[in-house]
């Protein structure tokens, strides 16, 4: 159990130090100091800084994906499901700005392996979006990459806010995020109505 908690401390340290210094400037020494573990212990767990960063990224993405999926399941109809899932996503990111930065901004500086992880994490949201295709009257006529683009739009808006230092205000962005989610499937008019509807 000791090994596990040291691993967790290392992952938490990766999130905090990278959020503070940026990925490129972070050293293994920073991580061991922040985590309160020895260099030897660090290298028993991770071959290098990148491996620790990727493990921290996977852990953060897992937590986010589980929260979004759980909120999504609390509703029955797709637009309401999407709203609940996105609300949970924005709330989680706002509560933990360091994780938000790691998950959506800093990945890019960590090289191709991190980029592939990042895209794989995003694509985990695909089923949530693909339901929109089944729900939409025009679903079968929509372009093949509609869900990929909708996810890209949502993530792009969120990443811009985080990069601008407005992570804690993310929940206020729900109307714009919801419009970006609903409109590719339902069209802008129906999406505008869906955004203004009370739950």
């Amino acid at each position: 159990m000791v090994a596990r908690s040291q691993r967790e401390r290392a992952l938490d340290a990766a999130v905090d130090v990278v959020a503070e210094k940026g990925y490129a400037a972070t050293t293994v020494a920073d991580l061991t100091k922040e985590a309160g573990i020895s260099r030897t212990t660090f290298y028993e767990m991770f071959p290098d800084k990148e491996a620790c960063f990727l493990a921290a990224y996977d852990a953060a993405a897992d937590v986010l994906a589980r929260r979004v999926a759980a909120a999504f399941e609390t509703e029955a109809v797709w637009p309401a499901r999407a709203r609940a899932g996105l609300e949970a996503l924005l709330g989680s990111l706002a509560d933990e700005p360091a994780i938000a930065r790691l998950a959506l901004v800093d990945f890019g500086a960590a090289g191709p392996a991190a980029q592939r992880r990042y895209r794989a994490a995003l694509l985990r949201m695909t089923p949530l979006f693909d339901e929109g295709r089944d729900f939409a009257p025009e679903g079968r006529r929509l372009p093949p990459n509609t869900s990929r683009m909708a996810i890209g739009a949502v993530v792009g808006l969120i990443a811009d806010e985080i990069a601008a230092g407005r992570t804690e205000q993310l929940p206020g962005l729900l109307p714009e995020i919801l419009f970006a989610t609903l409109s590719p499937y339902l069209g802008p008019e129906a999406a505008t109505r869906g955004v203004s509807e009370e739950r």
Partner: protein, 245 residues
């Protein structure tokens, strides 16, 4: 449900001039005249720009050294330092060249007489063709640059702002006033960007033009409505059939 299609957009002759002004406001480099041709690496400077694009595309910006760039270009280190201050300076110059070409490809199809939706179709087609024909520069500009430091990131961001302003012209079309969020153009571009980046990362840069109907759909949708955006996507498909690409 469908809105009034954008049949003639804003026919003001000042549009092309406005585009130039936008590019100037963003302080983007001017376009080149030889767009149809890939950059011919005559000078040592050009060879270094091609080489920095190639090595960063292969190894990533962080892992690329000046030695790698010089070896690839067949240029001495001394010459490198006569032309550029450091790796970042060289990369930034290559990025400026790419952006000039990208903006040039859009300026080339931009005409005051064209309806807005036609302009979006033509600009998207030209941009995808350009990326597909220069896979090395595509990877550098779309994947390495945004992550390689503040200056290149700012250059990338200003290119996106020009495209965003072009899209927002869609608002000027005579459609009924809708509560479309002000973020709609930025969101649509982020969707298109994500699709393009995914395609490049998966090694399918040459097939980027196949994404044209998807990209035309997502970028015209907020302003033209779903029915008309689907029609624009079909129109793009018809003008640029996949078989030709």
């Amino acid at each position: 449900m469908p809105r009034t299609p954008s049949t003639n957009g804003d026919a003001s002759p000042s549009r092309a001039k406005e585009l130039d002004e936008l590019i100037e406001q963003e302080q983007l480099p001017a376009g080149r005249d030889d767009l149809a041709e890939p950059p011919v690496a005559h000078s040592q400077r050009e060879r270094l720009l091609v080489a920095v694009a190639k090595t960063t595309a292969e190894k990533g910006y962080g892992a690329t050294t000046i030695g790698d760039v010089c070896t690839e270009a067949g240029v001495s280190r001394a010459t490198f330092y006569e032309l550029f201050k450091d790796k970042e300076d060289c990369f930034h110059a290559a990025m400026e060249l790419s952006l000039a070409d990208a903006m040039g490809s859009i300026v080339a199809v931009y005409s005051p007489d064209k309806p807005w939706a036609t302009m979006v179709r033509d600009a998207a087609a030209a941009f995808l063709e350009l990326l597909a024909s220069r896979p090395t520069f595509a990877r550098m500009a779309m994947i390495e640059a945004p992550a390689s430091g503040e200056r290149a990131f700012q250059l990338y961001a200003s290119g996106k702002r020009v495209l965003q302003s072009l899209l927002e012209r869609g608002r000027e079309d005579p459609v009924e006033e809708e509560a479309i969020p002000t973020t709609a153009a930025r969101a649509a571009l982020a969707g298109a960007e994500s699709l393009i980046v995914g395609q490049i990362l998966s090694g399918n840069t040459a097939r980027l033009p196949e994404l044209l109907p998807d990209i035309v759909y997502i970028t015209t949708l907020p302003y033209l409505g779903q029915e008309e955006a689907l029609r624009q996507a079909r129109e793009a498909e018809r003008e640029h059939p996949a078989a030709d690409r």
